[in-house]
């Protein structure tokens, strides 16, 4: 039994009972000694069969395939003698295979066969790389208020209208505030005022609420916030598709001018 075989045997026998351990150690030591000799690099019998196949392939001569026939496409489409050069057509836009697939054979088009995205799903350029999402909470962003902060006339009008009707906008987290108010204890007040620890988030909310009811301009113009004040762990993806889209289109908008007035 040569050293290689012994080592292989040793590797395969690691599960042997303990009483054979000393013997195995001896063999291992011997293997390490043998390994240090340059002629004994192999630890196991490696499978070099594929090399043999490659070596055979190297020696074998393959004829180079040569096709002297002109393709019909060349004759019809280009109609040039070989070696004749023309100007490069920079305006050339290769025909999109997608167009053929979509517009398809010129048969009667019915709503059922008009779109075959199933087999051509790669036609949709923008793959969903931000992770799939669906409702509820499909799109989250802060809904703008119809009255803008600098629209003083609208704010005053709204204040007067509400004054007559005896109403006032409600703080959007009013119910949350009322609930926390019931949960907050003396300990929370002490922790907040002595150590600035607001474990329940009550004091921050209280501040926001006071701000809301003190300044009518805020009460009448504040957006509906789904994104603000949300810890990142709670909200996995902050999606504002308007912002996403604007990246692509703001550049394009310069193309459209009043002079041309035509979208290409």
């Amino acid at each position: 039994m040569n050293v290689g075989e012994k080592v292989q045997q040793d590797e395969n026998q690691t599960h042997l009972p303990l009483h054979k351990k000393s013997n195995n150690l001896f063999i291992k030591e011997k293997a390490v000694t043998e390994y240090n000799k340059p002629d004994n690099i192999r630890l196991r019998n490696l499978n070099f069969n594929h090399r043999k196949y490659l070596d055979d392939k190297k020696t074998k001569q393959f004829p180079v395939p040569v096709n002297f026939e002109k393709s019909t496409r060349c004759e019809v489409g280009i109609g040039l003698e070989p070696g004749e050069l023309t100007d490069v057509n920079l305006d050339y836009i290769p025909k999109s295979p997608s167009i053929e697939k979509i517009s398809g054979p010129n048969t009667t088009i019915t709503p059922k066969n008009i779109i075959h995205l199933q087999s051509d799903s790669d036609l949709v350029i923008e793959e969903c790389d931000r992770g799939y999402d669906c409702g509820p909470f499909y799109h989250l962003y802060n809904y703008e208020n119809r009255i803008e902060p600098d629209d003083y006339e609208a704010i005053i009008e709204a204040i007067i209208t509400d004054e007559i009707a005896g109403t006032y906008p409600m703080f959007e987290r009013e119910l949350e505030y009322q609930e926390l108010k019931g949960l907050v204890r003396k300990r929370d007040y002490i922790l907040y005022y002595l150590f600035s620890k607001d474990y329940l988030g009550f004091f921050q909310l209280k501040e926001e609420r006071t701000f809301f009811y003190t300044y009518p301009s805020i009460a009448y113009t504040s957006p509906l916030r789904y994104l603000d004040n949300v810890p990142e762990n709670d909200l996995f993806t902050e999606e504002n598709d308007e912002q996403l889209q604007s990246f692509d289109f703001e550049n394009m908008s310069s193309v459209r001018t009043l002079d041309s007035g035509v979208w290409r």
Binding site: I115, G135, P136, H139, L175
Partner: protein, 398 residues
């Protein structure tokens, strides 16, 4: 902060969950499929196909019924961390109510099942709905060539869905390509009822007597690019025609392959509209009744713009398409077509199936429930009741 708050809240939530009186027959089966890595637990008759991603406030994965071949793909969204947040609870209730109310229409996204799981770490609200791969924004802004027939077929589906919604006296208020899902075979489904609103006058009267909720509609408004001029320039009440404006924007976007009015802020948005539709008439500006509207008029320093014919902008569009865009994108909301008139427009004659344009038979959407939600515990109870009612209805129909 959150841990402390969550523990106190969880106690309350558990109490609420206990209040849910689920009959034994309707109780969820004992066997459950667990996807431990993403902390998802679903009934045993479902099989998870793949994890799809982390969306807003939840994790989404695709599932199918065990043994079903070919599998009907279902998207499951597990929503967590919403039970302590007022605006999220309100939105969840609103969205589920609308999805439940409109379920069954082929052009509105369908809710398949609902479930609240209370055992940690799988706790959360589970929403099961049809899995739809794309939205219309992706299709419009892709390189896919859209023939006019595609556009007709897409628009027809949007209008069919909107007809159903409007027939229940509901305004969607946030219609845009990103909120219209597109299946692989080109079927469109309106989704995202986060800003939708019932407007039936009878229910407003009920609320007024209750005096808990303001009788007017909230001032929060939809995505700016699809926002109607009356929302931008007036402070007066609006109606279903704001959705029609959005549909007009979508129709024009089909041809332009990008949004037609891309304002950076609300006044820029108005000027983007003016550049195309021209400066509005004096009478209309008076009707809007605001100084900012009046300042746009011919007496102001602003330049006066003439209307650019849509046919100049989209020379490749048919006369019918141009006429329909014209009728939908009108400064004056009273001059816009309503949804039924839009469906009857000659542009859609080729694709129309008049027998398959249902209206909502349940009548107008009742939104008086809003006046009952006067505390956080009531909000939670209502969400649980909504899930309970959904399940009861689901099992009774089996």
């Amino acid at each position: 902060m959150d841990v402390c708050r969550a523990s106190r809240m969880n106690r309350m939530l558990t109490d609420n969950t206990r209040a849910l009186n689920v009959p034994p027959s309707l109780a969820p089966p004992q066997e459950r499929t667990i996807f431990a890595k993403e902390r998802i637990s679903i009934p045993g008759y479902y099989e998870i196909i793949q994890f799809l991603g982390k969306g807003a406030y939840g994790t989404v994965c695709s599932v199918k019924f065990k043994g079903q071949n070919p599998p009907a793909k279902i998207a499951v969204k597990k929503i967590s961390n919403i039970f302590n947040k007022e605006i999220l609870l309100k939105r969840a209730i609103r969205e589920l109510k609308f999805m439940n109310f409109f379920k069954g229409h082929k052009n509105i996204v369908n809710l398949i099942d609902l479930e609240i799981v209370s055992s940690s770490p799988y706790d959360g609200l589970y929403c099961y709905q049809e899995l739809i791969d794309y939205d219309l924004a992706k299709v419009i802004h892709s390189s896919v060539q859209l023939s006019e027939f595609h556009i007709k077929y897409f628009l027809y589906q949007i209008l069919c869905g909107l007809k159903y919604i409007h027939s229940a006296d509901v305004i969607h208020r946030d219609l845009k390509p990103g909120n219209i899902l597109c299946t692989l075979n080109g079927c469109l489904k309106i989704c995202d009822f986060g800003l939708a609103r019932g407007i039936h006058t009878e229910f407003f009267q009920c609320q007024t007597t209750n005096s808990a909720v303001q009788p007017h509609i909230t001032n929060y408004v939809a995505t700016r690019w699809y926002r109607a001029p009356e929302l931008l320039l007036s402070n007066q009440p609006y109606d279903k025609s704001i959705d029609i404006w959005a549909v007009g924007c979508i129709l024009a976007e089909f041809y332009a392959r990008k949004p037609v009015f891309m304002g950076r802020d609300s006044m820029h948005q108005v000027f983007e509209i003016i550049k195309v539709l021209g400066t509005p008439e004096k009478d209309l500006l008076i009707k809007f009744g605001t100084i900012k509207a009046w300042n746009l008029g011919k007496n102001s320093n602003n330049p006066v713009y003439k209307k650019i014919p849509w046919s100049n902008m989209f020379p490749f569009a048919s006369h019918e398409a141009i006429d329909l865009i014209e009728s939908l994108l009108h400064w004056d909301s009273t001059h816009r077509l309503n949804v039924e008139q839009a469906i009857s427009h000659p542009f859609l004659t080729d694709v129309r199936k008049p027998d398959d344009e249902p209206v909502c038979l349940q009548g107008p959407f009742d939104f008086t429930y809003e006046s009952e939600l006067s505390s956080m515990s009531k909000l939670r109870d209502h969400l649980i009741k909504e899930v309970d009612d959904f399940k009861t209805e689901l099992f009774s129909s089996l």
